[in-house]
Symmetry: C2
Subunit: 184 residues, 2 copies
DNA sequence: ACAATACCAGACAGATCGGTATAGTTAGCA
DNA sequence: TGCTAACTATACCGATCTGTCTGGTATTGT
């Protein structure tokens, strides 16, 4: 018990999270049934409820996984010794590339809040994500996370994601990138 | 027949659209069942299917109504003879006020695209909305809708809405407003 | 070898989904 | 007056939803 976890356990849980991440992003959360998540994961239904208390718990775990992924991804893109405009550009350019490769389905956190507006645990993860993004932008800008400059960069990052999702327009993403680079 | 529509018919259809608008925005589209829309409208279920072919058709009609509402609303806010920064400010300030009054549930078009990503008719209305917004911003800026300036204003408008929805932050909306005013 | 534990496959339950059908009521109009 | 058409109320349909339960298998540590 404790931290002991068998290889099989980890595999089932991981496959469920990977399946959920794919389906929730491609089809939306409310439009994706448990049965489909389970089948897509190649896992028994009971395994889902052994690892997660409910669908809502699965959604929250999926979002927490996405948050971890964003942190790792943005860190891997960032050169802490680079110039500020280049660091900003790297962040936005990665977004533009994923838009062009059609693997982009919008911000998982924003999407989840829209689909489950009453769910406080979802909202909590989404707000945590926004704090993390703000902190990252603050570290690039060399300012306080509550500063005007960081707020403006944050707005532009949000804008780029929304434009990419609804407008499917990588050009707008690059426009946002240009604006952000001009700010720092 | 033809354009003839009785008072009762108009009333049922209008009540259904009003009910759908309220519930789809407050609870989301997929999380709102037909029965609830009907009950909330004080209307019989058959009246829904006399006026709309399906739930999807109701969603599209709701979005078209929202589009008309946005056009009327933004026109009523706008003074075509005013200075550009004031015209931009009026648009964003109305958004900030609705955020503060807790009647704001995000952009209906963005939300619908997120909830029904496969639905082409929903996406079509959403893209129409974006063209209309672009045209309005172009008329304020006195430039072509495809110009860099209009793209930037458009990004900021998107950003303000997303920040208001997920972050519930009227301060960010006003920050976006300031940026937009500086641009024109 | 053996108990514990995760795993799989799938039936099942109760609720709710979108949508249809039935049956009776009301209002406008020739 | 009597036809038409839209209304109301409600029962019903098959499908699907989340979640539970049974029952058998494979792996694990001791």
């Amino acid at each position: 018990m404790g931290s002991t976890t068998t290889a099989a356990t980890r595999s089932a849980r991981e496959r469920l999270l990977a399946s959920a991440a794919q389906l929730f992003q491609e089809r939306g959360i409310n439009a994706t049934g448990i049965d489909l998540v389970v089948r897509n994961a190649g896992v028994a239904k009971a395994s889902l409820y052994n690892n997660f208390a409910s669908k809502e718990a699965l959604v929250v775990a999926y979002l927490e996984q996405e948050l971890d992924g964003w942190v790792q991804h943005s860190r891997s893109l960032d050169d802490p010794f680079g110039a500020r405009p280049e660091r900003v550009a790297a962040l936005f350019e990665a977004l533009a590339v994923s838009v062009e490769s059609h693997t982009f389905h919008g911000c998982p956190f924003t999407n989840a809040v829209i689909e489950l507006p009453e769910c406080v645990s979802v909202r909590r993860v989404a707000e945590h994500y926004r704090e993390v993004v703000r902190a990252h932008l603050a570290s690039i800008a060399g300012e306080d996370p509550t500063s005007t400059l960081v707020s403006r960069l944050f707005l532009l990052y949000d804008a780029a994601i929304t434009a990419a999702k609804v407008g499917r327009d990588a050009g707008l993403v690059r426009q946002a990138s240009t604006m952000a680079q001009e700010l720092v």
